[in-house]
């Protein structure tokens, strides 16, 4: 212990780590009515780290070549000790990451935490959601099975309906007319290089913004639930008399992370086939599209919307408008009220939107 204390002191006198812990952790006060939903950000950080670790372990044996990719994944699953577990951790983890991201987004939505001055927090979070969907889509192709091949074909083909540049854009994405060797190379580069780097940078920006403005106050349990920031000047939102981040909220973070890991393990050990269906065990065949091909669950609503509209461009335009509305929500909703029950029109629209998305997802699954 003495040795460890000496190391700590050695670092402390050089970097002032004790001051960081005192000021930024124990002295970092959160609103007294802070709730468990605020810990989802920490859960997401843990998931991202797990995805990086399992992804690097998979890279040890994965071969990004159309003749070897499927076999290399099979090799990892069947021959490498704990390989099946690592692959399941990564595959199930990507779905869980999106699920928790959506929950995080919904909680921000209902607590009105996206309102000024936190428009940039929302925007960076929204782009993180898009990047997470992108990294999931690019990773989905890598096992080179029937499901991944055709889900990628359908997803990339959507771009072809964009007027004038559609066909060129599809070739740019695929690196050819059809999904093939160059698509695998491009998606692999995006999946293991560019997208994780962009996500890491954006997480950094997101955390910086939160540190800079202070944590928002949830609207529950308060008399005045209006937005306190009037837009006159920069104000750090302090919470005098609030609860310290460490150890109080750190404990909440640990509880949420443990609960998440428990749910995650249930899927990994008991229901892995939800995320890896039977078509995932058949190597990709560019000449045969399997029946009832379905994209991953987080794209099912988009897939069903495309089916509903007679014209692909209308289906895409509707989705683009919905996404743009969501991204620009803090600039559209300028109302001061944050409590969901005190802004019934917003709550009705938000609940309807979420139910519509869930409905389209379920419809897409069973159609």
């Amino acid at each position: 212990m003495e040795f460890l204390r000496n190391i700590y002191n050695w670092i402390d006198v050089r970097l002032g780590t004790h001051e960081i812990i005192t000021e930024k952790r124990t002295g970092y006060l959160l609103p007294r009515n802070v709730n468990a939903w605020y810990s989802l950000g920490s859960v997401l950080l843990v998931i991202f780290c797990l995805q990086i670790i399992t992804g690097m372990l998979l890279m040890l044996y994965y071969v990004p070549d159309i003749d070897k990719a499927f076999d290399s994944v099979s090799f990892i699953m069947t021959e490498i000790p704990l390989g099946r577990l690592v692959r399941l951790f990564h595959a199930v983890g990507s779905s869980m990451m999106l699920l928790v991201l959506l929950l995080h987004m919904f909680s921000i939505l209902f607590m009105g935490s996206y309102k000024s001055p936190r428009e940039l927090h929302w925007l960076t979070g929204f782009f993180l959601l898009l990047l997470a969907m992108g990294i999931s889509l690019t990773g989905y192709l890598l096992p080179w099975n029937q499901l991944s091949f055709w889900a990628t074909t359908v997803a990339t083909d959507c771009a072809s309906s964009i007027p004038f540049i559609g066909e060129n854009l599809v070739e740019l994405l695929r690196g050819g007319k059809q999904v093939g060797l160059h698509t695998l190379g491009r998606f692999y580069t995006l999946h293991v290089g560019l997208l994780p780097a962009l996500i890491a940078v954006l997480i950094g920006v997101h955390l910086f913004l939160i540190q800079r403005t202070g944590v928002s106050t949830p609207p529950f349990g308060l008399e005045d639930t209006s937005n306190q920031w009037k837009g006159e000047s920069f104000v750090y939102e302090e919470h005098p008399g609030g609860i310290p981040f460490f150890p109080n909220f750190f404990l909440q973070d640990m509880i949420s992370i443990s609960l998440y890991l428990a749910c995650f393990m249930v899927f990994v050990f008991f229901f892995p086939n939800i995320f890896i269906p039977s078509t995932s065990y058949v190597p990709a065949n560019p000449l045969v599209t399997p029946s009832h091909i379905k994209p991953e669950w987080y794209f099912l609503a988009n897939y069903q919307t495309l089916k509903l509209f007679p014209s692909e461009i209308i289906g895409l335009t509707v989705q683009a408008i919905a996404m743009a509305f969501l991204a620009l929500l803090p600039f559209i909703d300028r109302g001061e009220e944050k409590h969901p029950l005190k802004r019934p029109l917003f709550t009705f629209c938000a609940v309807s939107g979420i139910l519509l998305w869930i409905g389209m997802t379920v419809w897409g699954l069973y159609s």
Binding site: C158, G175, K177, Q178, L287, V288, P290, E312
Partner: protein
């Protein structure tokens, strides 16, 4: 700092920024081209030959033509049709339904006739026709 020094430094900084922008622009286009055109996919105008006796009456044969999936149909009346097998809706490969003598796209249930015309479903247009010729029992496509 007097105004002339400030002005001089601003001009220098502007020059450096312009140089940096030019350098970025100079490498962007070659990088874009590197990304854009994979040389191995530039084979077009090729021909594919299929012996007619490889396809029974009322059956179809799928093959790769210029990098994309294609199909040759030998209809019940003996006539032929060479078509792109790529559904114009979302790019899935159509399946030949021998009993119904039509094509089905398994992704969104689009149906096409043996000549590629849309029967029902979301496909916005017919399957693209591919020119072919028949000589000495061999169909040459392209």
């Amino acid at each position: 700092m007097d105004d002339s020094k400030r002005k001089f430094i601003n001009i220098c900084l502007g020059g450096v920024a312009a140089l940096a922008a030019t350098a970025i622009a100079a490498v962007t286009y070659p990088l874009f081209r590197y990304y854009l055109v994979p040389p191995t996919d530039k084979k077009s105008g090729g021909k594919t030959s299929i012996p007619l006796n490889e396809i029974a009456l009322g059956d179809a044969k799928f093959f790769e033509f210029n990098g994309v999936a294609a199909v040759l149909v030998r209809k019940q009346d003996g006539t032929l049709a060479a078509l792109s097998a790529v559904c114009p809706h979302l790019g899935c490969i159509v399946q030949w339904e021998k009993d119904r003598q039509d094509f089905l796209c398994p992704c969104h249930a689009g149906y096409f006739t043996a000549d590629g015309a849309v029967i029902s479903g979301p496909p916005p247009r017919a399957l693209a026709k591919i020119p072919y010729s028949l000589a000495n029992g061999v169909v040459t496509i392209g």
